[in-house]
Every structure is written in structure tokens, then in C-alpha cells.
Symmetry: C2
Subunit: 96 residues, 2 copies
């Protein structure tokens, strides 16, 4: 079984997203994907680093992807581009 959760990092304080990730792992997710766009990309990296440093030293970064997303403008005319990041965090299985 490989349950995956997705956390989208936005305008809230970083610790909100740290807690959301820890909760997802606690509820049985094996992998949590932390996503962000534009200026929130730095915050997403902070979130992952806090999780690894303070709460889950055995969490492993399985994959990091960057890309560009087209975001439709609110007036419905055209779109703007924003960079995005997606960081996949996994629980390391304990060897018994």
C-alpha cells in the first residue's frame, strides 16, 4: 500500500504546512508531496527542511521537480506564467 497526500503551500505561516504534513504522515500516508508556486516556493523548501530537521529526521526526499504553470488571469483574458515546485517526502521504512 502506498498512500500519498498532497499539501499546497500558500500564504499561511510555514508551521501550518509543517503540521499539515505531519498530520498526513500520522494518518497513514507513506508519501507527502509538498507543492508551491511563485514566491511560495521558498516557503515550501523551508517547510520540508523544518520537517526533516526537527520532526522526522528519518524522512527522505524522494524527488524534487520544478516546472512552469499557466495561471488564468482573473479577468478571463490570457494567463500569466509562474514557476512551481513539487517535493516528494517519504517515510523511511525501519529495517527490523
Amino acid at each position: 500500500m502506498s498512500k500519498e497526500a498532497e499539501i499546497f503551500v500558500g500564504k499561511k505561516p510555514p508551521m501550518n504546512y509543517v503540521l499539515a504534513c505531519l498530520t498526513a504522515f500520522h494518518e497513514g500516508a507513506n508519501e507527502v508531496v509538498v507543492k508551491a508556486r511563485g514566491q511560495s516556493i521558498s516557503k515550501a523548501v523551508d517547510v520540508v527542511e523544518v520537517i526533516r530537521r526537527k520532526f522526522m529526521p528519518d524522512a527522505e526526499i524522494k524527488n524534487i521537480d520544478i516546472g512552469t504553470e499557466e495561471i488564468p488571469l482573473k479577468d478571463g483574458q490570457g494567463s500569466r506564467r509562474a514557476s512551481s515546485i513539487s517535493i516528494k517526502l517519504g517515510k523511511v521504512k525501519k529495517v527490523k
Copy 2:
């Protein structure tokens, strides 16, 4: 031969770093590593995406690393932590 260049993204406008990377490739680098800390991480991702989308569609992201760096405070007492990113861009060799 594998020549590697390093570009550190900071406070200047993104296009400055885009040009620095393109210049490094032009001068013979096979790989360019784009690095940034803290709030500049988002800018580093933008820089890499602009290079790939507008200037070098055949450039390949070879590796992305995130981490935490200790930065000594200016008063010499203690240090603060900042997240960091390191994105390795490579020229794809043309198959003849």
C-alpha cells in the same frame, strides 16, 4: 571534459542570472549549478525555468538538492538557519 560553473542567485533582477548562466554555457561549461538561499530560492527556480523555456529548450535538469545552511550573524554571536537550493543544469549532447 566536464566543465562546471556555479551561479549564486541573490538580490539582482532574474535576467542578470539568466544571462550569467547562458554566458557560462557559451564559454564552454557543460553543467551550470544555480544556487540560492532563503527568499531567493523562488528566483532561482524562475531563472532555471526561463533558461529552459526561452533560451535553451534542450537544457536538462540533472539534479535538484535542498538543504539548510548555518549563516553566521553579523555581530559574530551565534548564527541563523536558512534553507538553500542547488539546481544542476546540463547541456544535452546532440546525437549525431
